[in-house]
Symmetry: C2
Subunit: 111 residues, 2 copies
DNA sequence: CTTCAGGTACGATGCAAGTCATACCTGAAG
DNA sequence: CTTCAGGTATGACTTGCATCGTACCTGAAG
């Protein structure tokens, strides 16, 4: 079984500074906005976000998001899954995910 | 004629990225946390925050907060006043100020 | 006038962070 | 086996940013 061996921090250990630093980047914020917009919280692939950056940089960004406690990365060996930690985020920082939607009035519309 | 000639942007022009970048810094976040904790929204002096940095750096930080649309700076010539734009922030980014209290000492005390 | 405190402008510096090139690893499909 | 796509590790580069030193401005008090 491919367990979530790449999980982030504990819920209580989530740092607001790290969260703001993670969301300060445009690409990471677009990823989080997309994830927050999908209420089904389905697991997504890394390349399903269509980021205009190299794959090494994508690896870097996903790691930052994971270390900030915002997502979980599920390692399948030659593939990777991304899942939003919606429950943990809402528990620790209620309203944060709603805040991300403020930038895309109308839905998922990255400029 | 102590007008607020150093006001920030319009409410609709507030950018979420600029806000997150502004709140990513520890010193700026502490200022915002203090301002958000004071429900009277009274005008405060720049040196009332007791920041462990030089005054030039303080000028820089307050400017970033103003350009992000989070505060207004009232210029008195040889003095300066700081005021939180609570109404505008709550209108554009509801829940953001509450979020800042998540790490405030005395507000939402963890454990 | 001079002095002084609060604040700003400009420049320089040091460090963190975003980005990519190269090389390597992993698992699936021929 | 080989090939290939997805992902990572390492290193280097470059930009952004927080910080401070020096100099200057502003208004109030001697």
């Amino acid at each position: 079984m491919a367990g979530r061996n790449l999980v982030g921090l504990e819920v209580d250990a989530l740092d607001l500074g790290a969260v703001f630093r993670a969301l300060a980047d445009e690409h990471r914020r677009s990823v989080m906005t997309e994830l927050a917009a999908d209420r089904s919280d389905s697991e997504r692939g890394c390349n399903s976000f269509d980021l205009p950056i190299s794959k090494q940089t994508q690896t870097h960004h996903f790691r930052v998001l994971r270390e900030a406690g915002l997502i979980d990365e599920i390692d399948y060996g030659n593939r990777k899954g991304i899942r939003l930690r919606r429950a943990d985020i809402e528990k620790r920082f209620p309203g944060l995910l709603t805040l991300l939607g403020s930038e895309s009035p109308g839905g998922t519309a990255p400029r």
